[in-house]
Amino acid sequence: MVLVFSDDKKLTLEMLSKGSELAKELGKKLTAVVIGKNDDALAKEYIAHGADKVFVAETDIESFKAEEYTELLESIIKETGAETVLIGSNKNGKELAPRLASRLNTGCVTDCTNLYFKDKKLTTERIVYSGNAIAVEQFNSKPQIATIPSKVFDPLPKDDKHTGDVVKKKFDVEKSASKILKIQEMKSEGVNVEDAEIIVSCGRGFKNKDDIKLVDDLAEILKGRTVGCSRPIAADLKWLAEEHWIGLSGHKVKPKLYIAAGISGQIQHIAGMRDSGVIVAINKDPEALIFKSADYGIVGDLYEILPKLTNAVKEKMG
């Protein structure tokens, strides 16, 4: 059996698509796991998107805790005899999957960008060395656990004729010794850098939060309207929300045009945008690494260049 779990619905739908392909090849069933309250509408949706079965683990756990979710999934895997487990690679999934793998004494590959059978073995591809290479690996034992980032696979079209069972089961899990004191939702503007065609990004070369207006203005003119940033802008300074963060530990993007202003071009940033169509860099340091990863660049002060560039683009585009 192939088992799919994420607390993110979109990601679950994407994994169900890949999961049903793998399940077909194996001649096995595809099960989606829902943890928490029974949600009939959600279960129906998973079935319409390929699940043969939805396993609802009813618990009174209020918030995600890797320790408790691990125990739940461990029980579900044992009960269902699942041999292939796909877990969504959001931050919760990334800390859940390896813990689960350790409890089951098994292999786990994180952030797979491809997944297929080769010589009857589940084979994974993932990006390593900050974007310099792809590692191809194979599982040699079961259960086999892979985590899948969002947007790697497209969900199957909805098929209301597809049928499946919903199984509900109550679980008591041992409470973790850790306690969640506070959960603070970061404000989101619904920015989606992954789908953007044009991205203008800012880095530490910006002196104040308000100066981000300079990239906003250019993005607006370019009709991309999408602003990206380097890790320090989102993680240290918190000038922009996480959804703008591009790189190894942030979002992976591939717009037609990527403009990096005041970004040094460390490999961890490049890892997130190296698949872009045309890359443009603006940096005052002629030796900045970013120029090595750029198609076009201007050496100079972004405070002088960006307004001029915005005007020039406006004129050109008429």
């Binding site: 890797a66 320790e67 931050k91 086999q144 989101s188 190296r274 660049g297 020039a312």
Partner: protein, 253 residues
């Protein structure tokens, strides 16, 4: 407070190249270093020790030359290092089992610190695996921690939310780059580190019959070739040239 810092020696990915004819990444001759975030883990360990006293042990599964890297962490403030060699074949299952057995052998521990992920493979597996094998709570992606006498609190960067978690000891914590600024050891500290012990523990003394669950099949380089046309003279000229080029590329529509 007994603190264990798990630190990994990695290739400096920023110095890596891909062979343009074979399309394979070149790993030979690339400088080695401590995985960046492990230095943040080390720094945090020192801060906790400064507050509560205790001992910091650095634990590494790595090649013999990783001793040089462990010395850097001893110079920063660790008390002792332990080096376990890589077995012939290894994966995350093997490495985490070795680290876990070593931690059990050390015996007394309150806090285990790891990086959020290693800079070469960026998996984030070891931390949660150790916590799972030891059956202790895990606090991942800690962006700030406050260690008190019998509990620890951390603010965790979970992407679209920030989660504050508290735990009793023992606990495993993975830290992010933002948690602190790792100190640079002084010359005196670097010299002093020479007298601190680094113990060699064998694989056999920790576990036998260890086999990887994942086999490496191949490693393919991803070359990146860019035009590298850089305008650097007059700003107005440069801007004009850039806009003309972008128009030609067809990205201004």
């Amino acid at each position: 407070m007994n603190i264990i810092v798990c630190a990994k020696q990695v290739v400096d990915v920023s110095e890596m190249k891909v062979d343009s004819s074979t399309k394979k990444p070149i790993l030979q001759g690339v400088p080695q270093k401590i995985s960046d975030i492990d230095k943040n883990a080390m720094e945090e360990a020192i801060k906790i020790k400064d507050k509560h006293g205790g001992k910091i042990t650095v634990l590494t599964v790595g090649p013999a030359d990783a001793k040089e890297r462990i010395k850097e962490l001893l110079a920063m403030g660790a008390d002792e290092g332990i080096l376990i060699p890589y077995p012939d074949k290894y994966d995350y299952h093997v490495v985490s089992t070795l680290l876990t057995e070593a931690i059990k052998k050390i015996g007394e521990y309150d806090i285990i610190l790891c990086g959020e992920a290693s800079i070469d493979l960026f998996s984030g597996q070891i931390g949660p695996r150790l916590a799972g094998l030891l059956g202790i709570p895990q606090i991942t992606y800690a962006q700030s921690v406050n260690a008190e006498k019998d509990k620890i609190t951390a603010d965790r960067n979970m992407g679209d939310k920030s989660v504050t978690t508290e735990s009793t000891y023992p606990v495993l914590i993975t830290v992010t780059k933002e948690i602190n600024e790792p100190r640079l050891p002084s010359l005196m500290q670097i010299l002093g580190a020479a007298n601190k012990p680094i113990n060699d523990w064998t694989v056999e003394s920790l576990a036998d019959g260890l086999n990887p669950k994942i086999d490496a099949v191949e490693l393919n380089g991803i070359p990146m070739e860019r035009k590298n046309i850089i305008y650097k003279d007059n700003v107005d000229e440069s801007v004009k040239n850039l806009v003309d080029s972008l128009a030609k590329e067809g990205v201004l529509r």
